[in-house]
Symmetry: D2
Subunit: 271 residues, 4 copies
């Protein structure tokens, strides 16, 4: 975003090749080490610079994309995969200046991406009830320089609610998403958007029931697949392996008019 | 984002059910019509309100998500599908305050989403060489209230370049993406991100070659699939139909150090 | 299989192009009509012959593959799709001379393919409880010339059993496959193979429970996707549309030793 | 197929659980060993029997399905996956008594399945030009007891042709399938079916061109995906991993009338 040197403390992607890609915090004069050898970080570093390790392997210094942050961030919890993350942002309709809820905070990776997108005028209300994860999220949010845009609380949303209202959308990534529905009903602005992520069909079915009963409309379940390809001249082909499954997405809209929601359901059944 | 009434001229989603969902511009006192009947728009309208048509069908008024804007916007050109759109934003690493390039502008839908995310501090440099599309994009960008954040030009990027530099990332959606590579090399900040979208394998192969020769690293091709599910109690099942293909995604990083890019290629080949 | 002329009454594929492909019974001197025009069938016809319609459109005469029989056979019931059919044959381990069970007979298409593969030494015990479908299956089995290899009965297997035993494998395609489990336990040879097909997750879950309780081991659920590609020089790309879902496959093995099956289940859970 | 004991020399599946499944040749009094411990094979063994290893782990004795033969057969070459194998049989229209060609023989697994399906009246003309693979295929075809139905030759089909004609269908699984087209044109009966398997897009494109030029009609490219599911009560979900790609399938029909084939191509282009 500027042509000046990279600031100390900034997150950089150190990239040798597909199998050797690292998310690193830049410290002028600090040392970076990987299996390709070590390199001392120069006093002035620019995006796109190529450094050479002591073993003679070149490393490119790149600004991490959101997809790379999700893939590379060290974490104690499972993470939202790029496959789903982009779609979640799209379904939430994330805008600069918006107010969004998240539960749980997990590694803080998704929290940070939301914060980068909503900017200094926006706010992310992220809740986590597991202390280990909370600490991890705190550190990462700090690391990514978005603490001022994130309201992070160690809080059990199912029992204590979100502690905020008028949210544009919420992102729910907990093992029992149905338990979050009442809190979301309170926290979401009228017409607000629910997006949740669950690995099993049973979780989705139970959450969808809870959303219906709470008057959420337009309940939609979808899943995404991603396949990488191999790009060698004259031998173009898909990659051998694929992730078979991470989670299903469930989206819904807070309407709160049960008459509307019941009639929507009736029309759906006719098909 | 506020609890007040919806402003005149704002974009609303008028939703009856999955098959009757409309993107509409709110005019107090104006009339909305669909096959479920007509309804007069009230003087004061709030997100989540439910109106009833003269045929007695209830319609919910919702804030459109980005996915809905992409799906519903009337357009003269092909559109970026939600399936890919979220991933594009994630790969571009879109942040509030960022500077991004787009070519072509198409319907202006993706331009608007980029602008909503980068906010008033950011800027989208969108270029379109087809006059019809340019006019369409102009109208939609105005409609979505983001004209002040978008620098939109009727311009042939392949011949005339982007007319700007220091961009964080570019999104390229034209039939001959390889022709845009030289302009992207000039316009992107060092370390900047290339994301392009092409329906055929041949386009991807040719663009990847052009990116390699221009010194772009980390060239990656992927494709995404999306499947909707049907959520009826006791009969949960995937939907019968799926989009088989829209386009492949190609991402790359401007490094510009040919020595680095050639050695990356050599390591790739060994696998 | 012979170079002689096609016999009267034989099934032929009349092929103009992908959108105009017909399964037809050859009658020398008979007339074939489609939207490309009519053609009189010659007295002597050979595989691979090209006839011309009165509108001047050439039609190739081909021996139908099993995939084409499944796709083109006129039917009153839903049909097994090629996507699953091949895998079913593979999982059943179909061999010339084998003895297989089927319920329901449906259109008789899958019955005929099983009969073509097991040959005159083998036998297919196909059961159907809906009279309409039974009549349809009868006609098609006769049409395909395999009546002598098929034991077809109008019979409710859930209530009356299969009426046969020592089967190598059974293929179950009914709305309530769990109701067939006791009959399959009796009809299958020890170690015999169960393959069933169900559109919803709930049907699979319930059937799997019934199979477990009846002592079936190696219960496996899978789904298959198929994508056609477009092959135009310089524009190779996947097709726009895909079938999103037809049915899940469930396979299992009759072991009957509950101790074994319970210990298998325990080992599975540990993962 | 019979209720009698398993014959010495017969292929059995020794099954403990999904991760411990073995294809084994039964020898009365012989010893079977795996990481669950050893077991001495009894003098009389029946399908579905459960044996116990010295470590107390029960093993079920099952008749291997074709899918299991493909997955478990030790091999020196890459193998046709179940994902594609069933569809290949379906597209070839394999029948008891039919005459089919195969190149290359590979491990002999697909050859044996073809031979099981065509029975003693049918014949498989399988060709392999690599001596190692030929030896391997010989052994496996013998092992599976189908030598009398298979005409196996160490032969370079591209140079020397198939050495047979009037085939119903051929299955081609070699790195340069386009080189086999002239031989297939000679070997196939008029109207006969070509099925080939290739991992890269480039191989498919080149083979399709060769087939077009040789007068093959109805050239169709497709790919298949398979996803296993996890079946635990209350936690039903797809498996985490999937095979991303093995190979594309290309099917075509020998017509030999270039006028027909060119007009088919023209109609295709219009779409």
């Amino acid at each position: 975003m500027s042509d000046g040197p990279i600031a100390a403390g900034e997150n950089i992607l150190v990239y040798a090749d597909e199998r050797a890609t690292y998310l690193h915090v830049y410290r002028p004069g600090g040392r970076f080490e990987c299996h390709h050898g070590a390199v001392d970080m120069p006093e002035a570093l620019y995006w796109g610079d190529v450094l050479e390790t002591m073993k003679g392997v070149p490393l490119a210094i790149l600004r991490p994309s959101h997809a790379e942050v999700l893939t590379l961030l060290k974490r104690r919890t499972t993470v939202v995969y790029p496959k789903e993350a982009g779609r979640i942002l799209l379904e939430m309709g994330v805008r600069s200046g918006g107010r969004y809820g998240e539960v749980g905070s997990g590694s803080g990776a998704m929290t940070s991406i939301l914060a980068w997108m909503t900017g200094p005028e926006g706010r992310i209300y992220s809740r986590e009830r597991v202390e280990n994860h909370f600490d991890q999220a705190c550190k990462n949010i700090e690391r990514f320089g978005v603490s001022d845009r994130v309201d992070l609380e160690l809080r059990d949303v199912a029992r204590q609610g979100w502690g905020v209202d008028g949210l544009d959308a919420v992102f729910v990534d907990v093992p029992e998403p149905w338990s979050i529905v009442p809190a979301a009903l309170d926290a979401l602005d009228s017409g607000g958007i629910w997006v949740s992520l669950s690995p099993t069909v049973d979780q989705i079915v139970r959450t969808e029931r809870a959303l219906f009963q709470a008057g959420f409309a337009r309940r939609t379940m979808l899943e995404l697949f991603e396949r990488k390809w191999k790009l060698f001249p004259g031998r173009t082909r898909p990659g051998d392996r694929m992730i078979g499954h991470t989670a299903f997405l469930l989206t819904a809209r807070r309407v709160g008019d049960m008459g509307f929601v019941r009639r929507e359901q009736t029309r759906r059944k006719r098909r």
